[in-house]
Symmetry: C2
Subunit: 213 residues, 2 copies
């Protein structure tokens, strides 16, 4: 059955981004370390237009993350362009002219904006009426395929709290960041989990959980 899921890299102390995010450090200070295991993979490099790379135990995990995705949901920060109204000539986001999604992408924001069509099948839709609406729009757009939550942490938390997540994978990196954005913050025992899969790979361990209802 089509599911709603997310796959997010975290430090061992539970941060999905480091402190003090900036243009220089979009993932916060030290945050880029959380993704180094992925940058080496052929399975990551190919869809980002890069040659070469490794095949290791993370490869099937990354392939599964990308397989069968029919729509993506992300927060405004992950789309880019800073907070507040979009302005006259709004920025098109971090993702360039050929974003790696190739599906509709629903961006949660407080500020309305016309859809933004990019090459390769990616269209950004801006959703101003909350997570339930974003869920329903993405669910409909995805059809028989899965909906992938791209992040950030606050969006994943809102979807978990609303009972909309079917499964998620934390890719735990052996790094302590000490501060930053906590991945599983503002949640509690009402989110009931079951271990689904564990994959140890070079520089990362992928922990997959199902949300029980």
């Amino acid at each position: 059955m089509a599911s709603l899921r997310f796959d997010i890299a975290v430090s061992l102390d539970g941060f999905s981004a480091g402190p003090n995010p900036s243009e220089e450090h979009p993932l916060g200070e030290g945050g880029m370390q959380l993704h180094e295991w992925a940058f080496e993979l052929a399975a990551w490099r190919e869809p980002h237009g890069k040659d070469g790379g490794e095949v290791n135990a993370s490869t099937p995990v990354v392939e599964a993350m990308r397989a069968n995705v029919g729509a993506v949901v992300m927060g405004r920060e992950m789309f880019g362009g800073g907070p507040g109204p979009w302005g006259e000539d709004p920025w098109d986001g971090w993702w360039g002219d050929d974003p790696p999604f190739h599906t509709p992408v629903f961006v949660l924001t407080h500020h309305a904006r016309e859809p933004l069509q990019k090459d390769g099948g990616t269209t950004f839709h801006f959703v101003t009426d909350g997570v339930q609406s974003a869920f329903e729009q993405a669910r409909k757009a995805a059809g028989d395929h899965d909906v992938s939550l791209a992040g950030g942490a606050d969006v994943a938390q809102q979807f978990l709290a609303a009972g909309l997540v079917d499964e998620f994978t934390l890719s735990v990196v052996p790094v302590l960041l000490g501060s930053g954005t906590r991945m599983l913050d503002n949640l509690g025992a009402d989110v009931r989990l079951a271990q689904a899969d564990v994959v140890a790979a070079p520089g990362v361990t992928h922990l997959k959980y199902r949300v029980e209802r």
Copy 2:
């Protein structure tokens, strides 16, 4: 080589105890859930004087935790008796007449107290001059064997920050506590880690790390 190590159960959101610890809930509200995977194991039941129990993928992990331990270090809270001076007729702690340690146990406290000898080879020594002293006393008592940090989180953090830990295992339980005692708090990138071992078991995943120097 003899090592200093700890093995602590944590929730997926990183807590080693729940909120509001009390006599009724010594591990905080919900905290006992972090140990349910262990209570079912023959390898846990036998040293606690109970018959029966399961053998599963956690068994060798629990056996390794207990093997080759020559001395134990713990915090005052883990010993028991509440904070402050010991008083006239001090409490003997949570651990009963035959504690499961069978080695010298060094208890970090601000309040001096005579050593407390129990059955089965466990003697509690009360250390008032800090983690380095507790480390040296435990290291000497352990001889060729390992020193085990029994907890709590604050003691483990002090030992990690002081560069005294060789390896540790987090036994990650698929539960969100939402608040409580954070296991890896007050630490940062100066503690450098390497993944050492990953064991998926029923109701828990054991993640072992080495501290790099």
